[in-house]
């Protein structure tokens, strides 16, 4: 058992310990401790990984470990990381820990809440460290199911309906995914589920053609691929703060990561051949999400549609299938994860004070809660791609990368996707203007308090991460770039 | 033998006619008490058939348990639950037609099957009475072809039924 398994063990242990605790303060301490431990672990992993790479380790996946679960079907618990998964683990750790702080005073039933929360985290971490199709799928499901309860019990508004819609749509996606994975298993000779083995072996083209759509759409549903994105607005709007953060910040990345790790890596020829269909869909996502966000009046809906647009860009860039655009896609995953988590944390904070998310009922909040207001502006600027913040580097890498595809189809789509930066500016500035600036809309809001310390911790951590990505993108890009090498070699780029 | 055989043929057809007519009346009559009575006729005729097949013991059991015990039970329960509603609200006619068609089809199908089977050539061969002693021995023996185990199982079942019946039917406080 190597130390990667700690990523799964720590949350599971936390879940176990939570059973034994009763006092809310103890629970919070435990959760914060577990979150920080995970963050420390992720940072250590990052350090070790860079060290190992600099030391000349050239394997596609480092820190491998393998444990047979069920020999007759060749199911293994198999872990390993490359640069991309290291970054995703770091992202997840940051968001898990900030999520704990953002739900510091969750009510009612804090114990049960954190129990499900950490179970969900287990799934997320497990997914990113797995390199076995089966364990990957299993962790994926572990990450999905607690969402139903977290939204259904601790959510707001039409929470039951939203929880059901979200879970059913995602389950539909995972049904497709399961079909695809089984196809991968059987058409690769049915004797291994290990990603690396499968990637080495290759697959017949007509089988690839048959199963690529299943896997891509299966993961794409989670990555808010048009037209399978409608779970996102309702789900995010109803979910409690930390769950929205985790869901938009990390879970939607599971989709993009899966599309890359499974669909494109294992079926490169089909990806090349069929990419045009999905490029169209994702291109639509990008612009469509942005336009839809322009007229939303609910803060969370707005952010959900903006997520559709940004996550659309992730898949869009992946499908360009060249190293630059794919690097951009992973950076966009990071960047979107961080800034959307920041957005949801802030919206949670504002909603907790004003008890409304309707921007028509709010206004001039900058005077009342300057800290939250400033953070919101920063999040907005990151989202519309201000240089120095994470959004810019990601988007630019995506656009430069996409532009390297020289034919008219790709060109036109790239230009269409580029227009999203203008539309993003429109809706971000619109909401910032209405929400924060101008005269105070509701006099009752004048007495509301500004951010509490735990909210400050959460938002400051996220902003720091956004700044790090935005200011020093080169090491992240390098980390991603070398991890892409095997895939791009397979794609013939 | 000829006479006897004609007589015995007549007996069979008489019993068959009673059974067929009574059974059909039993399921079509509106009055429940009449249905019970027709059932009684069927049961008696069946007992007659058993005698006719030289299964005297079976016939006797049929007479005592069925005709004697069960029918009395029916009659009493009919008296206890009599509502006359059966007469007022006939069953929906399409259900009746469907049932009739199904039953008729089933009968015809079976008849077709019998007609196609070799059993049309099988006749009664050993007209001797089954000795009571043999029945007793078989029932109480634990050897091959012994029935002590089902016999005991049945007795426990009956006991359970008695207890269950009492439990269900007793008045609750």
């Amino acid at each position: 058992m190597n130390f990667l398994s700690l990523f799964v063990l720590i949350p599971m242990l936390t879940v176990g310990l939570l059973f034994c605790l009763g006092k809310p303060s103890h629970i919070r301490l435990l959760c914060a401790g577990a979150g920080i431990a995970l963050l420390a672990l992720a940072l250590t992993l990052l350090g070790l990984f860079i060290q190992a790479r600099n030391g000349g380790a050239t394997d596609a996946m480092l820190f491998r470990a393998d444990l047979c679960w069920y020999a007759p079907w060749n199911i293994h618990y198999s872990v390993g990381v490359d640069g991309i998964s290291v970054l995703m683990l770091l992202l997840s750790a940051i968001i898990v820990v900030t999520g704990v702080f953002a739900s510091w005073h969750i009510d009612p039933m804090p114990k049960e809440y954190f129990l499900w929360y950490f179970l969900l985290s287990t799934g997320v971490f497990g997914f990113f460290i797995s390199i076995d199709l089966f364990s990957m799928f299993m962790f994926y499901e572990i990450a999905l199911i607690p969402m139903f309860l977290l939204i259904g019990i601790w959510g707001s508004g039409e929470k039951e309906r939203a929880a059901m819609k979200l879970t059913l749509m995602l389950m539909g996606g995972s049904a497709l995914l399961l079909l695809g994975l089984l196809g991968l298993y059987f058409f690769h000779g049915a004797d291994s589920m290990n990603l690396l083995t499968l990637a080495d072996r290759g697959m017949a083209l007509d089988a690839q053609r048959r199963f690529f759509p299943f896997v891509f759409i299966g993961f794409g549903v989670l990555g808010a691929l048009f037209p399978f994105h409608t779970w996102s607005p309702d789900g995010h709007a109803s979910a409690p703060t930390a769950v929205s953060m985790l869901h938009a910040g990390v879970l939607m990345k599971l989709g993009g990561y899966g599309c890359f790790r499974v669909a494109i890596t294992l079926m490169p020829e089909a990806a090349t051949e069929l990419s045009w269909i999905f490029l169209l869909l994702t291109g639509i996502s990008v612009v469509y999400g942005a336009f839809s966000a322009c007229v939303q009046t609910d803060l969370k809906y707005l952010n959900a549609y903006s997520s559709v647009s940004h996550c659309g860009l992730v898949l869009f860039a992946l499908l360009m299938l060249n190293p630059t655009a794919m690097t951009g896609a992973v950076m966009q995953m990071l960047s979107h994860g961080l800034m959307t988590a920041l957005f949801f944390a802030l919206i949670g904070g504002i909603y907790g004070r004003t008890h409304t998310r309707d921007i028509r009922l709010m206004g001039g909040l900058m005077k009342v809660m300057p800290y939250l207001g400033v953070c919101y502006v920063i999040a907005g600027l990151a989202s519309l791609g201000l240089p120095g913040l994470s959004g810019f580097v990601a988007e630019m890498t995506v656009f430069v990368g996409s532009f390297q595809e020289a034919d008219l189809f790709h060109r036109v789509l790239t230009l269409v996707a580029c227009t999203s930066i203008v539309i993003t500016a429109v809706y971000i500035l619109r909401v910032v203007g209405k929400l924060l600036y101008g005269p105070l809309q509701n006099p009752q809001h004048a007495l509301l308090p500004d951010a509490a310390w735990y909210e400050k911790v959460a938002t400051a951590t996220l902003i720091a991460a956004i700044l790090v990505v935005g200011l020093t993108p080169h090491w992240i890009a390098d980390l991603i770039h070398e991890s892409l090498a095997p895939v791009t070699a397979m794609l013939g780029r | 033998m000829e006479n006897g055989s004609i007589a015995s043929t007549l007996v069979f057809f008489f019993l068959a006619a009673v059974m067929v007519v009574s059974s059909i009346l039993a399921v079509t009559t509106k009055k429940i008490l009449r249905a019970a009575t027709y059932l009684l006729f069927v049961l008696f005729a069946t007992a007659g058939l058993y005698f006719y097949l030289n299964y005297s013991f079976l016939g006797a059991v049929q007479m005592t348990v069925y005709a004697g015990g069960i029918i009395v039970l029916y009659v009493f329960s009919i008296f206890l639950t009599s509502t006359d509603e059966e007469k007022n609200q006939p069953i929906r006619s399409h259900r009746r037609w469907l049932g009739f068609i199904a039953a008729a089809a089933g009968t015809l199908l079976c008849v077709y099957l019998f007609q196609a089977s070799p059993w049309g050539e099988v006749y009664y061969r050993a007209p001797e009475e089954l000795p009571m002693k043999a029945i007793g021995n078989a029932l109480m023996s634990a050897d091959k072809f012994g029935y002590i185990l089902p016999f005991e199982a049945l007795s426990i079942l009956l006991l359970a039924c008695i207890i269950g019946g009492i439990l269900i039917a007793r008045k609750r406080q």
Binding site: - | I32, R95, G99, W119, V122
Partner: protein, 106 residues
């Protein structure tokens, strides 16, 4: 007796059997349904006896099966009547199609 083929008996029991099934499907009264069930059981008993007598006269399985079947049907009738009386006591009727207290379709 000797000049009547086995098929005749079987046809007879078949008629009884399907008459019972017809009754079971069409009667409203629980007791009437139970009577139909008795017809069905009776038909099978006849079959047991007939098969035993005609095909394997030296054995006794059919006989005993019929015997046990009579016993069991007696038990079954007793229990069923107990339940029916109980239902009548609670609902004041024993109509099969109206026994839908637990059914939200109605």
């Amino acid at each position: 007796m000797a000049n009547i083929p086995m098929t005749y008996y079987l046809v007879l029991s078949t008629i009884l059997f399907f008459a019972g099934i017809y009754g079971f499907i069409t009667r409203r009264n629980l007791l009437a349904m139970l009577i139909s069930v008795e017809l069905i059981l009776n038909a099978t008993d006849i079959n047991f006896a007939v098969f035993n007598r005609f095909l394997f006269p030296e054995h006794m399985e059919g006989l005993f099966f019929a015997l046990f079947s009579i016993a069991i049907s007696a038990a079954e009738t007793a229990i069923a009547i107990a339940i029916i009386i109980n239902i009548y006591r609670n609902l004041k009727h024993i109509e099969a199609q109206k026994l839908n207290e637990l059914n939200d379709l109605k």
